[in-house]
Symmetry: C2
Subunit: 221 residues, 2 copies
């Protein structure tokens, strides 16, 4: 019996099934969708994958993904380089940009402390963050982030505040606590995102921890 | 503000978001996953897409996707070429193969009659099905499916039964009725899949139409 598809189809299904959020059925659906579209559209997807691997790198300053280093945000003189928002992943930068409430710059850790997954502070992009907070090390010869194109950013980075914008879960909280203790001695103001009721939510359906945080963090109306 | 990612990343996200079952968040997650894996793994996915478009075609006999025509099932002399199971899509062939209950051959329609989506009988792979049921047209000069490599299959296709295995929904039922009326005059036995309770299901949660079908189709215990 033929319990697997012919070579190329099965290989494509297997390749898609390895991606996050795609199961065997979804991978099969995508493979047949690609079989149905014209060659140019399928080739565009294949090229987009090759392209992204060839062109995308990490910003030497903030660790965000970008095609130029420093990234457009780090290189933008109109942004406030005295406030650094620390996030776990590059996609979190985009989430905060969409709020249109933040005009500072970012620092991407590349994860959060998670002993279960064997991720410790040494696996995160923390040393570069500390160097950004201590400008006297700007001349450090092995610190590429301060050389060349980043001069504009360098001149303006006299950091006043670090906003810890990590995920509100156990790993994020652990990382927030760790970074807060690490950064506070530098004499920089360290803040974190507010916890509370999600806007548009319903008091009745809020979990007790969130509701408790909202009570503790109450403000004058 | 940077509300979109740098060129190549955004292009990859957009390309993935066009695939079925993948939303903008899922596409973003996949794009960052691909950024994180090594180049070879990403390239393997890109190549799998290119490869499948280059190598996969439709079987001249049954319309299934394959890399050789006739497909391995149509070319297999150990299969029972007197029983044709008619399905909507190539993936349905795999579903039936997995049951290990069917030793015959297939015919893939490429869809079902759906007036809402402007799919009529003329859009389905029906003419080739009728030709398989009427071997006297085997010499038809514009019928490629009977020439060359398919000789083995040709000799054995004296069809006794057509099993209509379409989806148990409105479009599938309409197509089943249409094909049943079309094929019956050929003097071939036409059957359809049984409707009834799904195995492992619970009587309490069966919808009334399914339960009604199970009653009507009851068998001796």
């Amino acid at each position: 019996m033929a319990l697997a598809y012919d070579g190329a189809i099965q290989h494509l299904i297997d390749s898609f099934a390895r991606l996050p959020g795609i199961g065997p059925k979804g991978a099969q659906r995508i493979a047949f969708y690609l079989l149905g579209v014209d060659d140019a559209e399928a080739q565009e997807l294949a090229d987009a994958i090759t392209e992204v691997k060839a062109r995308v790198r990490f910003c030497d300053i903030c660790g965000n993904v970008c095609e130029t280093s420093p990234c457009p945000i780090c290189a933008d003189p109109r942004r406030d380089h005295t406030v650094i928002c620390v996030v776990q992943e590059p996609k979190d930068v985009m989430s905060i940009e969409r709020t249109r409430e933040f005009r500072g710059v970012y620092h991407v850790l590349g994860g959060a402390i998670n002993p279960m997954a064997n991720v410790g502070p040494q696996d995160l992009n923390i040393p570069k963050l500390l160097r950004r907070l201590s400008p006297q090390t700007a001349g450090d010869p092995d610190d590429d982030s301060r050389s060349g194109e980043s001069v504009a950013a360098q001149g303006t980075e006299d950091v006043q505040e670090v906003i810890l914008a990590l995920n509100p879960n156990i790993e994020g909280e652990a990382t927030t606590t760790y970074l807060s203790r690490l950064i506070s001695p530098c004499g920089v103001k360290v803040t974190r995102l507010a916890s509370g009721l999600p806007v548009g939510g319903d008091l009745e359906y809020a979990d007790e921890i969130t509701l408790g945080r909202a009570l503790v963090g109450r403000r004058e109306a």
